[in-house]
């Protein structure tokens, strides 16, 4: 009996966790979405135009782009700054890390 109860509890928790976002969405008074249109008339440069266009046309694609590009940029900057530090000649291996 207790075993069954535990299984049920596990299932209940799982369902609850998975569907909570839906619940949050459904809760509260329904208000209209805020849609933002990026003003591509005010950007001319290629890069900015690229992002603005994908923002306006395909939100999911824009999300994916943001993720990939920030990750990529993070790693690139990490590599570059590491090179610079090595070039300057400051020893980064013997530092102590302050943890919180």
């Amino acid at each position: 009996m207790r075993k069954h109860f535990r299984r049920l509890l596990a299932l209940g928790t799982a369902v609850f966790t998975v569907f909570l976002p839906e619940l949050v969405r459904a809760a509260g008074p329904a208000a209209e979405m805020l849609i933002v249109v990026a003003d591509s008339r005010r950007v001319s440069a290629g890069w900015a135009r690229y992002f603005v266009d994908s923002y306006n046309t395909n939100p999911l694609w824009f999300g994916l782009e943001c993720t990939i590009i920030t990750a990529f940029m993070g790693v690139t900057l990490g590599v570059i700054t590491d090179q610079i530090m090595r070039h300057v000649g400051i020893d980064l291996t013997s530092r102590k890390i302050i943890e919180h």
């Binding site: 209209e32 849609i35 249109v37 046309t57 395909n58 694609w61 782009e65 990939i68 590009i69 690139t76």
Partner: protein, 112 residues
């Protein structure tokens, strides 16, 4: 270290490939709503220009009106005549199909 750099270069190439994929371009127009028919889903907008001034922070009326089809659009706050809207659209078969429409007037009020 070598393995990591190798992985990194693969990442670079993939990212560049991703960026080289063509995105759809959309035209953007901003202006004042003249009529917004909820039944036919057509909105008429008087286009504004890009000369922003402290008095006319949304630009100045150009007198040119355009009709847009909202049937497949992502719509936020419904525009009433007089509202400034910003529209991203593309031209399909001679029709201005709206992708998304922003109600600038009403969203500016609740900003921040």
């Amino acid at each position: 270290m070598k393995k990591r750099l190798c992985l990194y270069y693969i990442g670079c190439v993939l990212t560049l490939l991703l960026l080289a994929l063509p995105t759809m371009a959309a035209e953007v127009v901003q202006g004042k709503t003249v009529t917004n028919d909820l039944n036919t889903k057509l909105i008429t907008v008087e286009e504004y220009d890009l000369k922003f001034t402290p008095q006319n922070k949304y630009g100045n009326p150009t007198g040119k009106t355009m009709v847009f089809d909202l049937s497949e659009a992502l719509i936020g706050k419904e525009a009433v005549p007089g509202d400034i809207v910003r529209i991203a659209y593309k031209v399909v078969d001679g029709k201005n199909k709206v992708i998304r429409i922003m109600n600038v007037t009403r969203q500016d009020v609740m900003k921040k």
